[in-house]
């Protein structure tokens, strides 16, 4: 720890964590999509936090980019009272109003992760910012921070509340703000993993580069504020979620890797 802190004093950029070239363990034994294996990756620098509304606003201001949700009016939003895995279509929702105009904007949430953006929107941001999305393996290596377990701290899912903004209620019929946040939390509101990466689990599902099946299907990892122990407990280092590349959900965001 002291070693790391000393190093940090000489690093100009504190928003990225450097992962060195090497062999790393990923996956889980018998997992259909993500079997246990050792992989080799070249060094990369990954964002310590998810991309924020502030950062996305800078991109939009510079490029006048129009997101898929703004163009197609097809965003999927949440409000308490919905059955499990049910989302609402809201033509007013976009990154500026992640759950629709009636549920408020991001003016006072600029340090929250950007959401209600599609995979295509994330790619557009990356192109502008001269960064890229992490590969499945890069994301997983960063989330594990050296661990081979389902969670970076081990196998006990009950510790999730220390590290992640998730949904703690049994279902989504009533609001759950028991950890201080019903929707997103400001990035780095919870404890980081041992490599100093925040919100690798929970807060927002993070898009990864590449496709496992069809090209129209993209993938995101780490779970989100919506995910609960009861439904979609994907706030871990193993599982991989899927979504349509044009879909803009209010629990989807991304972090980036330096090119």
């Amino acid at each position: 720890m002291i070693f790391s802190l000393l190093i940090s004093l000489f690093l100009p950029d504190t928003s990225f964590v450097q992962v060195p070239t090497g062999n790393y363990w990923v996956g889980a034994k018998g997992h259909a999509l993500n079997p246990a294996r050792e992989v080799h990756v070249d060094a990369y620098a990954i964002g310590a936090t998810e991309v924020t509304n502030q950062q996305f606003a800078e991109f939009v201001a510079a490029t006048h980019y129009v997101t898929d949700a703004e163009r197609l009016h097809n965003a999927m939003v949440f409000e308490p009272g919905l059955k499990e895995f049910r989302w609402l279509e809201d033509s007013t929702a976009c990154w500026r109003y992640p759950n629709g105009v009636s549920r408020g904007g991001v003016d006072d949430k600029m340090q929250h992760p950007v959401t209600t953006i599609s995979y295509n929107d994330a790619q557009a941001y990356c192109e502008w910012a001269q960064v890229r999305l992490p590969s499945f393996e890069e994301w997983e290596i960063a989330s594990r921070a050296g661990a081979r377990t389902t969670y970076f701290w081990g196998e006990d899912s009950r510790k999730i509340g220390r590290y992640a903004n998730i949904w703690h209620a049994h279902d989504h019929l009533e609001p759950d703000g028991s950890d201080g946040y019903m929707y997103t939390a400001p990035v780095a509101s919870f404890q980081p993993n041992r490599w100093g990466l925040y919100d690798m689990y929970g807060n927002v599902f993070e898009f990864c580069e590449g496709h496992l099946k069809e090209e129209k299907t993209v993938h995101a990892r780490g779970g989100s504020w919506w995910c609960s122990q009861h439904s979609c407990h994907y706030f871990n280092s193993v599982d991989i979620g899927r979504v349509h590349r044009r879909a803009s959900f209010s629990n989807q965001g991304f972090r980036v890797v330096k090119k």
Binding site: Q18, G30, H31, G154, G196, K216, I240, V243, R246
Partner: protein
């Protein structure tokens, strides 16, 4: 913001990382019989009503909307009720967010789950489609009966539609259909979802409800399929139906 100042420079490769020694999560493959039942569970029914016409319009609208197929209002309004039903059953026009793959379920053919599986991949019914099912529930139930009797099967999409509209009126039909071959345990799931959704008191007070739908349950919770559970589910479902009629 609690972002610590330190950016950890990770200078050492795997060989010297102190990786946790905890045992990895193990995914045990399911048996061939279990896998075959899984495949059976996920099968949809393709309605025959105006199928060629509907497919043609889907193709036309797909080209317009890239790879998301939302039929234009004009084309949609040109469909008959039965053709609209076909469209909704074969073409969900909104999005869903899914876990890509679940761990294999052991002995799936011996389990009665609390919820139906999802097989529309990253798509789901839109509000327009759900509204259609609700607004035309009598017709939807009749069409499903007719189609299921012809194909000798109630596809997953049909069962999802029945749950969507809480088709309690279908209980006798579903019970009779299930008794024909005792194969499709998801029919029992539909019956239990009706009882859970309508808060049918004898069911809500039962051990089964606690196991499948209470605060301590998980979404994938199940009952073992055996004669006693089958009898109990059917008896309660018929009780609910009789109470409502």
């Amino acid at each position: 913001m609690k972002l610590i100042a330190a950016t950890l420079a990770l200078l050492l490769p795997l060989a010297t990382f102190a990786q946790d020694q905890n045992q990895e999560e193990s995914w045990k493959p399911a048996s061939a019989e279990s896998n075959a039942y899984r495949e059976y569970r996920l099968k949809m029914t393709t309605p025959p009503y105006g199928l060629a016409k509907v497919k043609g319009l889907i193709k036309k609208n797909t080209a317009y909307m890239e790879d998301v197929t939302i039929m234009s209002s004009k084309d949609y309004m040109s469909l008959t009720l039965r053709e609209k039903f076909t469209y909704h059953m074969i073409n969900p026009e909104s999005y869903s967010q899914n876990c890509d793959v679940e761990p294999p379920i052991q002995d799936e053919h011996k389990k009665v789950f609390g919820h139906l599986p999802d097989n529309y991949a990253e798509l789901n019914w839109s509000e327009r489609q759900r509204d259609f099912l609700q607004a035309n529930r009598d017709s939807v139930m009749e069409i499903i009966k007719e189609s299921a009797n012809r194909s000798k099967r109630i596809g997953l999409n049909y069962k999802m539609a029945l749950v969507e509209i809480k088709a309690v009126e279908m209980v006798p039909f579903l019970v009779e259909f299930f008794k024909r071959d005792h194969k499709d345990l998801d029919i029992l799931t539909v019956l239990m979802e009706f009882m859970a959704e309508t808060k049918y008191e004898p069911f809500v007070k039962s051990v089964s409800y606690t196991k499948l739908y209470s605060k301590n349950s998980t979404y994938n919770a199940y009952l073992l399929f055996n004669q006693a559970n089958e009898d109990l589910i059917i008896q309660r479902a018929m009780g609910m139906y009789n109470a409502a009629n």
